[in-house]
């Protein structure tokens, strides 16, 4: 079980309350698809992903970004048991979606960059460290059922 200090729980929950799931999810997923274009291979049914403008304007990208952030919310409400919370999602990513777990890391890093863009100086080094720890826990949980 992961140990969270009160300060860490506070940092995660306070920022989560201020995050617009759709907007942040959309920006994070857009950035992943633009900065790491090979990730587009997982979204062949999404239509036009031919350039940054198309990706940013794509409604399926927006919807999926929100979905990802909503799922992140589940982890936040179950901080003391992210592994169990994500067991089914992990299986899904492994057995149905066949997502290379490296992509979880890319999305995690990108999300941190988006949060920094939104919150500026308020996203302090200490807060960043907490969020990176949280995302590392999420990534471990998502990768757990791979075999």
């Amino acid at each position: 079980m992961v140990h969270w200090t009160d300060a860490e729980r506070e940092a995660i929950n306070t920022f989560w309350a201020k995050i617009d799931h759709e907007e942040v999810g959309h920006q994070a997923l857009t950035r992943v698809l633009v900065v790491y274009p090979w990730t587009q291979r997982y979204f062949s049914t999404f239509g036009n992903l031919s350039n940054a403008t198309a990706i940013a304007g794509n409604p399926k990208v927006r919807a999926h970004g929100k979905r990802v952030l909503d799922a992140l919310g589940d982890a936040i409400t179950h901080l003391d048991n992210v592994s169990a919370t994500y067991a089914k999602l992990s299986q899904l990513h492994s057995e149905k979606l066949h997502v290379d777990p490296e992509n979880f890391r890319l999305l995690g890093e990108t999300l941190i960059i988006v949060l920094a863009g939104h919150f500026g100086a308020a996203f302090t080094p200490t807060i960043q460290a907490t969020w990176q720890k949280f995302l590392a826990v999420v990534i471990a949980a998502l990768s757990k059922q791979y075999h």
Binding site: T30, R31, E109, A129
Partner: protein, 143 residues
């Protein structure tokens, strides 16, 4: 993954914007590295204070970003621009190359924090590629 003309243009434009705050940005990027990846402190054990908020860390971060600025000016031949630093890292500092990626990440985070919406996905892409190139050049002579 080579830099396109457009990538180079975006990197140069960003640099012009951040140049007046380069020292702060470099200092913050290195501070974030220490905070988020505490194992990197091992390279600064000779500093009296190697915490994330240390003035020595901040000063060193400013130096690092200054060197990156040199690479921006010589973006058509980063290998030549950073040749001495490449030797320094290979023979003296021997910083494990994995850390270049970590610093690239905290620098992107810092740029995002300072530039907000101006740090567009395309600017992010250009800098991600450019910093990867810098990392490659710095580890070029390791073995």
């Amino acid at each position: 993954m080579t830099l396109s003309a457009h990538d180079k243009e975006l990197v140069a434009k960003t640099w012009t914007k951040i140049a007046p705050k380069a020292a702060q940005i470099g200092g913050e990027a290195l501070g974030r590295l220490i905070a988020v990846f505490p194992q990197t402190k091992t390279y600064f054990s000779h500093f009296a204070d190697h915490s994330a908020s240390s003035p020595q860390i901040k000063a060193h971060g400013a130096k690092v970003l200054g060197a990156i600025g040199q690479a921006v000016s010589g973006i058509d031949n980063v290998s030549a621009s950073l040749s001495k630093l490449s030797e320094l890292h290979a023979y003296n500092l021997r910083v494990d190359p994995v850390n270049f990626k970590l610093l690239a990440h905290t620098l992107l985070v810092t740029l995002s924090a300072y530039l907000g919406a101006e740090f567009t996905p395309e600017v992010h892409l250009a800098w991600d590629k450019f910093l990867a190139l810098v990392a490659t050049v710095l580890s070029e002579k390791y073995r």
